[in-house]
């Protein structure tokens, strides 16, 4: 009972300290908020990067265009042989007629192309196979299999390399952005650490009379220290609330533009925060509160000689 009463009073003293040094508390909350905003920017970048990569990966395939003289039975033989590879997930057969139709749909408006096709007369396209791998690492093996002499002589063209370069580039941009975001978050965390340290120092100085009297009349060590920890946790809660308060309207406003820019409805940050709010904000709160509490501990050890 006595401990419970003491904890409640410590909470009250912590709240009072927070309110009495409101400008100092506001500065601390602001810096903690900046650290949290930078972390959330990093999280958002990561989510968007992963969404873009997933979208790109889902579109990856190898298109193998056969020479026009290769008949369907030989193409099907190649298809069966390729399906036996563990790296291959699926293979779609595209007949020469379908290839022509697809080409006509894409370039139908181009008169020069239409004239060329008309001049040729017959269907100039061969059959094609669209091969999807189980994952990115399997494509080099699929490509190697297509280089086999028994297939190579039948194939007119293969299309894969360009997308591989795009993925590599996107992964590189994504990892650089993550590194940059981490550096910015680290910088804000460091500033937050120094500000919290200074806040506790000033708070201890402001309350030196009260602390001295507490010591004289027999207040326990933890009772004197607890209000400063309460202040640190309160600052963390306030910073998280401010950060969430800024983030939510931003996502509601900017979400559609981001999805449009990314070219996929999967790039929905608001939906991500809806489904992962507890994990993201819970982890962020734990991290920022741990940072604030550890800094308070260091400042109290240095300035609060109980």
């Amino acid at each position: 009972m006595k401990t419970f009463v003491s904890i409640l009073r410590s909470l009250r003293f912590g709240l009072q300290n927070f309110g009495r040094n409101i400008w100092l508390s506001a500065a601390t909350v602001l810096v903690l908020t900046l650290a949290l905003v930078s972390v959330n920017a990093l999280v958002s970048l990561n989510v968007l990067g992963q969404t873009a990569l997933a979208a790109l990966r889902s579109r990856i395939d190898v298109s193998v265009h056969f020479k026009p003289e290769v008949d369907e039975s030989r193409v099907q033989t190649v298809r069966i042989a390729l399906l036996a590879l563990p790296e291959v997930s699926s293979i779609q057969y595209v007949s020469p007629a379908e290839s022509l139709e697809s080409f006509s749909q894409t370039y139908g408006g181009d008169q020069a192309v239409a004239a060329s096709l008309s001049e040729v007369g017959a269907n100039p396209f061969g059959a094609a196979l669209i091969i999807r791998g189980r994952d990115l690492t399997g494509y080099p093996k699929i490509m190697a299999a297509l280089e086999d002499q028994q297939f190579a002589s039948l194939i007119e063209d293969k299309d894969y390399d360009n997308r591989q370069a795009m993925i590599a580039r996107l992964e590189s941009i994504s990892s650089r952005a993550a590194f940059g975001g981490l550096a910015v978050s680290g910088l804000f965390a460091l500033i937050a650490l120094l500000i919290v340290f200074n806040t506790v120092r000033v708070s201890i100085y402001t309350h030196r009379e009260e602390i001295g009297i507490m010591r004289l009349v027999g207040a326990s060590d933890w009772f004197i220290r607890l209000p400063f920890y309460v202040e640190a946790v309160l600052s963390s809660v306030a910073a998280l609330a401010v950060c969430a308060g800024l983030l939510l309207p931003f996502l509601i406003f900017a979400g559609p533009y981001i999805s449009h820019f990314m070219g996929t409805p999967d790039a929905d940050l608001l939906q991500f925060y809806r489904t992962h709010a507890f994990q993201v904000f819970g982890l962020e709160f734990m991290a920022i509160a741990a940072l604030a509490v550890l800094t308070t501990k260091a400042a109290a050890a240095k300035y609060l000689r109980v």
Binding site: M1, K2, T3, V5, S6, R9, E209, E210, G212, I213, M214, R215, L216, V217, G218, A219, S220, D221, F223, I224, V306
Partner: protein, 226 residues
């Protein structure tokens, strides 16, 4: 009650606070510790509340050896010893009542207990009518009475008063000394650290004289001899 055996205190800069002090203060005694400024009186008072540790020797209070007292135990010692200082140490933004109640609040006392004890303490020091005043609204003597009331709320067996009349005029000084005598009459041991000759001579109680860290005189019903 209080026993000091061969207690010495040397500060890190080499200043000697106390030298080989041996004392025994019995329960219920009223002891004046006198001496000129800087002779070690305050060092002795601080050692009794474990604010200073002796460099050598042993300090036992009520059978409790506090020589090597652990930090976590200090609050429990201080709840058994009331402390009164020259500079009052009152919180200016709290009323008289709140200042006295603060001593109980920070030690986890229940509100019901606080409401019962604080008025009693204020009654003893004669400040019931001024419970709602702030320290700046009462005289120096009254402020020191608030401090005494605050030191009483834990019902201490010992009160250590370090120059409690140092900032007071003669009228207020008399009031404070009378109050300490009344508290002593209830059975509380009082250790009064002072260099006020008139106070000591009027009290006609035990007087311990310290000079340059040494106990040079210890007399029952003594006088200020320096």
């Amino acid at each position: 009650m209080i026993r000091l055996k061969n207690v010495s205190k040397t500060y890190p800069n080499g200043t000697v606070g106390l030298q080989n002090v041996n004392l025994h203060i019995r329960p219920g005694e009223f002891v004046s510790v006198v001496g000129q400024s800087g002779t070690g009186k305050t060092t002795l008072a601080k050692m009794l509340i474990a604010e200073e540790r002796p460099s050598h020797g042993q300090i036992v209070i009520g059978g409790w050896d506090i020589t090597e007292i652990r930090r976590a135990e200090i609050p429990y010692l201080r709840r058994q010893i009331g402390v009164v200082f020259q500079d009052f140490k009152l919180l200016p933004k709290k009323t008289v009542y709140e200042n006295v109640a603060f001593a109980l609040e920070v030690c986890g006392a229940e509100s019901r207990k606080i409401k019962a004890i604080v008025p009693q303490a204020l009654k003893i020091v004669g400040l019931t009518a001024k419970a709602d005043r702030y320290p700046r609204q009462i005289s120096g003597g009254e402020q020191q009475r608030v401090v005494i009331a605050r030191s009483l709320v834990h019902r201490p067996k010992i009160i250590v008063a370090d120059e409690p009349t140092g900032n007071l005029d003669s009228l207020n000084t008399r009031e404070i000394i009378d109050l300490l005598k009344r508290i002593n009459d209830f059975g509380t041991t009082v250790v009064l650290v002072t260099h006020n000759k008139d106070v000591v001579n009027e009290l006609q109680r035990r007087v311990i004289t310290i000079d340059r860290g040494l106990v040079v005189s210890d007399q029952e019903e003594g006088k200020y001899v320096l």
